[in-house]
Amino acid sequence: MKYDHILIRYGELALKGRNRSDFEKKLKENIQFAIREHPSCKVRRTYGRMMIELNEEKPGPVMEKLRHIFGISSFSLAMKANNEIEAIKEAALQAFLQHEGRKGTFKVSARRSYKPFPVRSQDLNQYIGGHILRNTDEVTVDVHHPDVEVVVEVREQGTYITCGRMAGSGGLPVGTAGKVALMLSGGIDSPVAGYLAMKRGAELEAVHFHSPPYTNERARKKVEDLTKILTSFGGRIRLHVVPFTELQKAIHANIPSNYAMTIMRRMMLRITEKIADKQNAKAIVNGESLGQVASQTLESMHTINEVTNMPILRPLITMDKQEVVEIAEKIGTYSTSVLPYEDCCTIFLPSDSVTKPRRDKAARFEEAFDFEPFIEETVKKVETLNIGSEEESADQQMDDLL
């Protein structure tokens, strides 16, 4: 007998009313996506819980993937026994013996949600505890601070036994909050902003501005890689690569250099809004942090924000650089983000950008050229990639070589 299930718990708060079934459905989908490399694992919803049947898959790699999924509060390895007292006793003993870590003391916490089962919880505690004591050496019961809590849950379909629990990522399942368009550069901040939006259940439509040949293939590859990392926290992400060169050239030609950056950001926002509309996203997320650089002063945000009335969410707005870096390191985007390739924010950028642009001036400068056709044309040429889906054939070809 061995651990052949993983029991997944999720927060209770979000589980009111109609949300519940959406929440559970999404979470199940996200779990299935995360463990797609383990096809024999089966995910089942039981009342208020999720259960993975491992079916001979090794638990380690599966659990590693679960750690990153939003909406899970904790999870445990579990053994399943038939609803018979002898079977439960033996399974509990095996679960205890196979539990890894300190186990000098333990307690049993039995819960009998399936009332037709004839043994009451209190009695179960005693029977199971006694069985473990009889079959181990130098193990004692400690009901206050046990090394291991053997949790026994008697349910209609069987009894599940777990020892200890691992913390999940918390948050809400990606997709339950709806969709947002993430403005994804190749830097440190925007992937973190995306991650935090996902934490609260947002599904991402990533938007990246690419200006070939001024930004190179590697910068684009880097953004694809970052998007791929983000998929491990939720599910597939569509990456919209915006060909930005023509518009940038037009800005360069028509706008005074100290306002070029402001106007460029306004154009980016207009384009992102159009993509968001098309994808039915209800907000835009970016990695701005107040006062961090010239484009992120309050005046700058005020002027840039003018072009859209779609909500712009800025998860990093109050964070220091160091705090952002810490999250980037934790989620594994940092080492990719710091690769030194130009992106469209760093190239074309004049050194004399105003730090306090004004709305009226920006609007007046924009009148210098008819930008609408550029925007239409750009949006038309957006290239959309499905990151995290299996049809990335080049990737598959490479994987086969290894």
Partner: protein, 382 residues
């Protein structure tokens, strides 16, 4: 019948296919900015992830090299040079591979002091003997994991645990013979540096890995570009690395199914050799790798036996391929205190996952036929 797999192995077909495909489809320089370059870099990164996954390390801890000799030289000289201002004392054993031994000899010529810890009759070093030699100015300890001549497994984990008390000291192991058949859990063994060579597990020649635990710094041997986190300049051997990743993956799968069989095969060969009165088995019965059997026929020249065997299509070797062209006794057998007669007459059979019982039985038959014959001719003189 190829029984010299400790010298090198025959690349597997799948491995060669991967090599060829990588060499023709992903020929770009991984440092180039264009598409072929980006693709080659992507493949390289994937290979690095794959190798790190199989070795259970972090991706950043993998440095690709040209093989065992380079890995050992880089680990030993690189560490000694980098930390030379902190100390110039190094520790190793008397049973190391030439690429370790000679690297230490060069460092001695540069003014470093090296302590060579001796081994018991099974060729095994005692962890406490290593620990005893540690001084304030010791910067590196290097111990081979599986001995390349006689197969003895060194207690790397116990040594690593003992050395943990000395946080400023680096611990390197030459894992070239162990990587396929007795893989180390590198984190559990507390090693900082670990050398692996691709062609010892059916990869292609010219490929290897130096594991460098996070936080380890060393002075590179090759200077130039910023490849391999600047620890090893030079355009990466993408097809070779791809092939090595494939070979390592297959090796792990084969180990899972063949380990028992190889152990039994080794025990079978050892026991049957022990029954021969002319033979003295140098490989220990316990605590040795499942793929190496070393035996001496005292009084006989091993080169002659090798010649006769190869004529009959059985290919064995005298000792390490890196030293077998030198007409010298086996330094390992000698260091184990088994006497000059055994050291001068040692030969080594080394298996692969593909070695069969049939082959071993035939080998034994040939021994029974040719050894008494040779004894008559050569043995009389002694």
């Amino acid at each position: 019948m190829y029984l010299d797999n400790s010298a090198t192995t025959k690349p597997w077909q799948e491995v060669l296919q991967a090599y060829q495909e990588a060499a023709s489809s992903y020929f770009g320089n991984p440092s180039s900015l264009h598409k072929p370059g980006v693709e080659a870099e992507t493949l390289l990164n994937k290979a690095r992830e794959s190798v790190a996954g199989l070795l259970k390390t972090k991706t950043e801890e993998i440095v690709f090299t040209s093989g065992g000799t380079e890995g050992n030289n880089l680990a030993i000289k690189g560490t000694a040079l980098e930390h030379r201002n902190r100390g110039r004392h190094l520790i190793t054993t008397t049973v190391e591979h030439p690429s370790v031994k000679e690297a230490f000899w060069q460092l001695e010529a540069f003014g470093f002091e090296v302590t060579y810890v001796s081994v018991d009759r099974e060729g095994r070093v005692r962890p406490e003997d290593i620990e005893k030699e540690v001084r304030d100015d010791t910067t590196l300890v290097s111990v081979i994991h599986v001995n390349n001549e006689i197969g003895t497994i060194q207690p790397i984990q116990e040594i690593g645990e003992r050395l943990e008390k000395f946080p400023k000291l680096y611990f390197h192991t030459d894992h070239v013979q162990g990587a396929a058949h007795v893989p180390l859990d590198l984190y559990a063994a507390k090693v900082d540096l670990c050398t692996i060579s691709g062609h010892k597990f059916h990869g292609v020649k010219g490929t290897g890995v130096l594991f460098m635990k996070e936080g380890t710094v060393l002075s590179p041997l090759f200077h130039g570009g910023t490849q391999e986190q600047t620890y090893r300049a030079g355009t990466e051997n993408v097809p070779g690395i791809t092939a090595m990743a494939k070979a390592l993956r297959i090796s792990r799968q084969r180990l899972a199914t063949e380990e028992q069989r190889l152990c039994q095969l080794k025990d079978y060969l050892i026991h049957r050799l022990q029954e021969m009165e002319e033979a003295e088995v140098n490989t220990p019965n316990e605590g040795a790798a499942p793929h190496i059997v070393n035996v001496s026929f005292p009084g006989l020249k091993p080169e002659v036996i090798i010649q006769e065997l190869t004529k009959r299509d059985f290919h064995l070797s005298t000792k390490s391929a890196c030293s077998s062209k030198l007409q010298e006794p086996s330094a390992v057998v000698e260091a184990a205190g088994l006497g000059l007669a055994r050291a001068e007459s040692a030969i080594r059979a080394s298996f692969s996952f593909d070695t069969t019982e049939q082959e071993i039985t035939e080998l034994l038959e040939i021994f029974h036929e040719i050894i008494p014959e040779m004894k008559k001719v050569m043995g009389a003189k002694r």
